[in-house]
């Protein structure tokens, strides 16, 4: 096992990796930007190195700064977390060249998984269902029109090297195809220096379902069940659960078997996630591979009992998957994760600032992953994730009850958070019944019912702004009179 590793990340995931390292007796080196000098990952790592100013491009995304930090601290490996450099194949390559183990898949695997159309072909070859569409890149308008006619409108144009919506176009009828194809190609060229575009059938109301993968460095791959991630706001996941209310044991087994084959054929190592869309007939269609640990990995940990970050470290150190997993996979109970973001729950505008009062929920069936503390700062430079609140129960009902309770007892003062939004979701009849898809959140209306399907009431104390409630801290100050 490694003696010392560097964690090339910040926030809750950096703390999460520190936890796994402490559990394994591995020393940790935190890196931080000047904005994170007093962050919790800096406090709890064994060593800490300032690598640059607040801006990510000059700190957490700066390959030279991170590698230099790894070199001067003499670490054996780097854990990239998620985001930042985690899916940067060049960074993984520089790590290898520098003699530092990159905790993740091989650089060429990361690179190939980043080429969406390439991943699509691999999956199709392994018998994993993919969305109907072009087999490769679209070469001509005629070819595009012919494929579209065959699979039927609406269709989606996507950049082959893409992500984040750039180079994407929804085409609803043939007359729009020429213009939209040209737009998608030029946008892709501008954004990714590669104008290649491919076509997929558009599912209007899909569910988002993903499978957790672990592969060791000896050719073994295992699939650890699925996660349901349909509660999204503009392609950003907000609430995830495992298992999915809409995946049967038969479907899980069938997809897992094919994924095992596909991921083995790729030579996939370490943790990864394969994302699917599900149509209204419960057919799953592959969309992409995320070659890293996911934000929502704790729901899988709760139902499988497997510590995924510990597994990442052990696999990277050369252990065999059968030792890491100890026994056949069993799924036990149900887990839900709510992402508590520093955002106005109504407008979704980021709400950075100082946390003036904090009560973390605890008790039975509750897990909190966070780097927040009273008087801590949520800086405006990075993502808005303040905490992940995860609950587990013997079934979905118990997990939901515990989540409602935990949200109720989660107090964050000084900033807006998504807690009231999650409370609305958890109380929604369709959500409780498991009837939802990726359009669910867009139908929730946070302006007191002017439009939208679901009627929503924001609690007054949540809607009014940062002084959300009688200040916890002030209440306390009066306590010693």
């Amino acid at each position: 096992m490694f003696r010392k590793i560097l964690i090339a990340n910040r926030g809750e995931i950096a703390v999460r990796v520190i936890c796994a390292c402490k559990d394994l007796g591995i020393k940790t080196v935190a890196v931080y930007s000047e904005a994170d000098r007093h962050a919790l990952h800096v406090r709890f790592a064994d060593e800490a190195i300032c690598i640059g100013p607040a801006k990510s491009a000059r700190s957490y995304l700066d390959v030279a700064a991170v590698i230099s930090a790894a070199e001067i601290t003499n670490v054996e490996a780097v854990h990239p977390g998620y985001g930042f450099l985690s899916e940067n194949a060049d960074f993984a390559e520089v790590c290898e060249v520098s003699g530092v183990k990159f905790i993740g898949p091989k650089p060429d695997v990361i690179r190939r998984m980043g080429l969406k159309q390439h991943a699509r072909t691999i999956m199709q070859d392994a018998g994993v269902p993919i969305l109907p569409g072009s087999i490769g890149v679209l070469n001509t308008l005629e070819e595009a029109a012919s494929i579209a006619a065959q699979i039927g409108y609406p269709i989606m144009l996507k950049a082959a090297a893409g992500g984040g919506g750039r180079g994407m176009r929804i085409v609803r009828s043939e007359k729009d195809l020429p213009a939209f194809l040209a737009q998608a190609q030029s946008e892709a060229a501008a954004a990714f220096s590669c104008g290649d575009v491919y076509m997929e059938k558009l599912l209007e109301t899909p569910r988002h379902i993903e499978f957790q993968v672990l592969g060791d460095e000896h050719g073994n791959v295992e699939i650890l069940g699925e996660r349901e991630c349909s509660i999204q706001r503009r392609h950003q996941k907000l609430l995830e659960e495992s298992p999915s209310p809409s995946v049967s044991a038969e479907l899980r087994t069938r997809i897992s078997d094919r994924l095992r084959t596909a991921m083995k054929s790729i030579g996939y190592t370490n943790a990864g996630t394969v994302e699917f869309l599900m149509d209204e007939h419960e057919n799953l269609y592959f969309i992409e591979v995320n070659a890293r640990i996911q934000v929502e990995h704790p729901v899988t940990e709760f139902v499988t009992g497997i510590d995924l970050v510990k597994a990442q470290l052990r696999i990277a150190a050369g252990e065999h998957l059968e030792d890491v997993l100890t026994g056949p996979l069993t799924l036990s109970g149900h887990a839900i994760e709510c992402r508590i973001n520093a955002e106005n729950p109504e407008t979704f505008a980021p709400s950075p600032g100082r946390i003036t009062g904090l009560n973390l929920p605890g008790g039975i069936g509750v897990r909190v992953d966070t780097a927040a503390y009273t008087d801590g700062i949520i800086p405006p430079y990075y993502d808005s994730l303040v905490a992940k609140l995860i609950t587990h129960g013997k079934d979905r009902t118990e997990a939901v009850q515990r989540m409602k309770r935990a949200l109720d007892m989660f107090v964050i003062e000084g900033i807006y958070t998504t807690i009231p939004l999650h409370e609305q979701i958890l109380s929604n009849e369709d959500f409780v019944a498991g009837r939802f898809d990726t359009t669910f959140l867009s139908k929730l209306n946070f302006k007191n019912g002017e439009s939208g399907e679901h009627q929503v009431d924001i609690k007054p104390e949540a809607a009014q702004g940062p002084p959300l409630s009688p200040p916890l801290r002030a209440v306390m100050s009066a306590g010693d009179d």
Binding site: R43, E47, C50, I51, P53, A65, I72
Partner: protein
């Protein structure tokens, strides 16, 4: 602890402008807090060291501002009144004070330095990055020993401008 001593402490607190003072002598303890005249905290005088800092490379985690204050502990002047200029490391890497092992250092304390003069080298990913002076002055302090790793923003030299 006598009243006179406490009185002295309170006056100390007021005169020094600190917001809180706590003194404990065996079983005796005094804590004094004072509302600041203006609400911004004077961070640099009380920058705390994170728990993890405990020697070796870890000491690199000491916030840079604490080091800035070090050269002139007897003169707690506001930042903008201070003439001394701190040269900080613009990158993470290993500090070398000479162009080659065994060679004479680029600069010594009390040396006169000129703009563009090389003060040291910081090695990062096998690249030797020369750090130059930005102004003319006297080098009054070198803060890092040869061969030691430095983090971003770490103080390297203090230069007193001419």
């Amino acid at each position: 602890m006598t009243i006179d001593e406490i009185k002295e402490l309170i006056h100390l607190v007021r005169d020094t402008g600190v917001t809180e003072l706590e003194v404990q002598r065996g079983e005796n303890r005094v804590r004094i807090r004072s509302a600041p005249d203006h609400k911004e905290i004077m961070v640099p005088t009380v920058v705390p060291v994170p728990l993890t800092a405990s020697g070796g490379i870890t000491s690199a985690a000491v916030p840079a501002p604490a080091r800035e204050a070090a050269p002139a502990p007897s003169a707690p002047l506001p930042r903008e009144d201070e003439r001394d200029v701190i040269v900080k490391s613009p990158i993470v890497g290993t500090y070398y004070d000479a162009p080659a092992p065994g060679a004479a250092p680029f600069v010594k304390t009390n040396d006169r330095v000129e703009p563009k003069q090389v003060l040291c080298i910081i090695e990062s990913m096998k690249l030797m990055n020369e750090i130059e002076a930005e102004l003319a002055g006297t080098l009054i302090a070198k803060h890092v020993e040869n061969g030691r790793p430095v983090e971003y923003g770490e103080s390297l030299f203090t230069i007193r401008p001419l």
